[in-house]
């Protein structure tokens, strides 16, 4: 049962626009701290530009390390926003309302962060212009559309563009409310321009409803394609441990697993720091967690498929890669942490209603999932590269450098800073949607029982 929002419209506006309209002191401190973290990353990047990729610790055969792991990780996090928003809109689940905007914004900033990493990783980012775009056709320098590395920017840019436009269109009513509530002339003008004069006519609301479902239906296939295309960066090669047909669905479902966990984590934090206890309730976390259980089970199925069919052909190089991942080598301890954090600890806990409805335990378990899934991407990429060549003289080992850790930290700062700054200008919860939920809420009397009900949209 969903707890209905019982406050009046004006209170809803005030509570949800509170952080937009006034700035608490902690905002400045936290923004500064996050900016420092981001700046450290920028300094590392600039140093890398000067010294080359060896500054980050890359050499043969492991040229893909933390940066690509982080790229895949953030693409994964970005998946949940659209998935939650789009699928829940399509099935018209009432509990989506407080969750969608925050999930979409996490998607946008995660995607932007993810996009940084291949650019950093190229060592000379300006050269990606030749590589991805028909920049220098006069000299006949055309990109190679057969390369998965060209598919990546096309997919990510499509996804990013679609998500930003989707969020913007869905935000028009809230921009109109912000325009009406704003007191300063500058804010009023900016919100007025951004809201495009939205007045809330019947036509505009009807188109909003239809557009929500239509755009959701269009974005869902894009979301599936993005991480599939990222997975094919690995799968279309012949590197042992990568040459697997399961990679596309495995990556997608893994992305949803980590992404939805990240959204749950974000919702719990947002609820706490923005005092949104009236809007984000245990019911929402419970519903998201039930979705997580189904997703985690599916992810586990694909993990088993990847594992069993990796060993199925008993090819020596494939067996060796799996062996190095989980039985021998320096990474076996990480494999244990990965298994515990991604599945063994959180999923059985989620089967208990008390855990699903506990904000503390859900925060802990979702953090564990994201740690585990980060490690999973690492386990996928690095052990395979260390022995990618069959020639023993081409073997190598990988040790992450401090600069890579700083870049990873900077990525987390970038996403958090982006979401925080966004929330300063626009509400993290769709105000009009919340109010619509109040109207749609009904009750049915069956015998002596009052059954919660909703108007079907």
């Amino acid at each position: 049962m969903q707890d209905p929002v019982t406050v009046d419209d004006r209170t809803v506006d005030r509570e949800l626009l509170d952080f937009v309209m006034r700035t608490p002191r902690w905002f400045f401190g936290s923004t500064f701290a996050l900016a420092v973290g981001l700046l450290a990353g920028v300094l590392v990047f600039l140093t890398m530009l000067n010294w080359g990729l060896q500054f980050l610790g890359y050499s043969s055969p492991v040229y893909w390390g933390f940066l690509i792991v982080n790229f895949v990780f953030w693409i994964g996090i970005s998946h949940a926003g659209v998935m939650i928003s789009a699928i829940l809109r399509i099935v018209q689940a009432e509990w989506r309302r407080p969750v969608t905007r925050a999930a979409e914004i996490v998607t946008v900033f995660s995607l932007m962060t993810a996009l940084m990493f291949p650019l950093i990783h190229s060592g000379r980012p300006w050269r990606t212009l030749y590589w991805a775009f028909p920049y220098d056709w006069i000299r006949g320098m055309w990109p190679n559309p057969r390369s998965p590395l060209v598919w990546d920017p096309s997919a990510i840019m499509t996804y990013l563009t679609s998500t930003i436009l989707f969020v913007y269109i869905a935000m028009l009513p809230d921009l109109a409310i912000a325009r009406d509530r704003a007191t300063g002339p500058v804010r009023k003008t900016i919100y007025g321009i951004l809201s495009l004069g939205f007045r809330g006519t019947s036509r505009q609301w009807r188109i909003q409803a239809v557009a929500g479902i239509l755009l959701s239906a269009l974005i869902l296939p894009i979301f599936v394609s993005v991480h599939s295309i990222v997975s094919w960066d690995f799968a279309v090669t012949l590197v042992p441990g990568w040459h697997s047909t399961t990679f596309a669905p495995y990556f997608v479902i893994g992305a949803v697993h980590s992404g939805v966990s990240a959204v749950v984590m974000a919702m719990i934090i947002i609820r706490k720091i923005f005092h949104l206890q009236n809007y984000i309730t245990a019911d929402h976390i419970d519903s998201l967690t039930r979705l997580l259980i189904a997703v985690a089970a599916t992810w586990f199925f694909f993990l088993m498929l990847d594992f069993f069919f990796g060993l199925y052909g008993t090819e020596p190089t494939e067996v060796d890669t799996w062996s190095r991942r989980i039985l021998e080598g320096e990474w076996r301890y990480l494999a244990v942490i990965f298994a515990l954090c991604s599945f063994i600890i959180p999923v059985p806990m989620w089967l208990f209603r008390g855990v699903r409805r506990s904000f503390f335990w859900m925060f802990v378990t979702t953090v564990l999932v994201n740690i585990g899934m980060w490690i999973e991407r690492f386990m996928l990429i690095v052990p395979a590269l260390e022995r990618k060549s069959p020639l023993t003289f081409a073997y190598g080992d990988y040790t992450p450098s401090i600069s890579e850790f700083i870049l990873v930290l900077a990525s987390f700062c970038m996403v958090t800073l982006g979401v925080l700054v966004f929330s300063k200008f626009l509400p993290l919860m769709p105000v009009a949607d919340i109010k619509e939920g109040k109207i749609m809420k009904q009750e049915m009397k069956i015998g002596r029982a009052d059954v919660p009900a909703t108007i079907r949209e």
Partner: protein, 184 residues
């Protein structure tokens, strides 16, 4: 005579039932469906105020966009490969399995972009023409009626009769944005 003298009136109501009554009364008084508009800060189920059903062609936009995106994607992908023909791994220069990703993304991007255009078009946005009042964001419902100047008083009477707390009007001989007068 080339420019019509139309007036828009906007009545503000405290509750949705009164607003619905206002719409009904306006229709009974002979005002056309497409002259009556309901403004609210929250979406209500379609037809809740007795307003006319909205017809739109939003579903045609994604198809058009997808076709454009596919065409552009096809041209780019085939053109790029033919212009710089590099044989890699024994694969043909233009091979369908290899180009399907770009075609797919182009198609979907085209569909989404055209859908956005369609949303703005069908929503009649940007909208700077109609009357609006900031109290609508407070939860008041606005009933707007566009009528000839001769019937303005009649419309005002009907709106008042349904319990409007305020009526805003703007003379319209050319598109104007701001409310001109407010009569409680």
């Amino acid at each position: 005579m080339g420019i019509r003298d139309n007036t828009e009136l906007l009545g503000l109501y405290e509750g949705p039932d009164q607003a619905a009554d206002a719409v009904g009364n306006l229709k009974e008084a002979g005002f056309e469906d497409n002259a009556i508009e309901v403004l609210s800060a929250t979406p209500y189920p379609e037809g809740a105020f007795g307003e006319q059903t909205i017809k739109h062609r939003l579903f045609t936009f994604p198809f058009a966009g997808a076709a454009c995106g596919l065409a552009i994607g096809l041209a780019w992908v085939i053109g790029a490969q033919v212009s710089l023909p590099i044989v890699t791994g024994g694969k043909p220069i233009v091979a369908f399995p290899a180009i399907i990703q770009i075609l797919y993304e182009g198609t979907m991007l085209g569909a989404v972009l055209f859908t956005i255009i369609g949303v703005l078009f069908e929503s009649r946005l940007p909208d700077g023409i109609g009357l609006y009042d900031e109290r609508i964001a407070d939860g008041y419902i606005g009933i707007s009626v566009m009528t000839e100047t001769e019937r303005m008083q009649e419309a005002r009477t009907v709106l008042n009769g349904a319990g409007a707390i305020d009526i805003i009007s703007a003379e319209k001989s050319s598109p104007a944005a701001a409310p001109a007068t407010s009569n409680a």
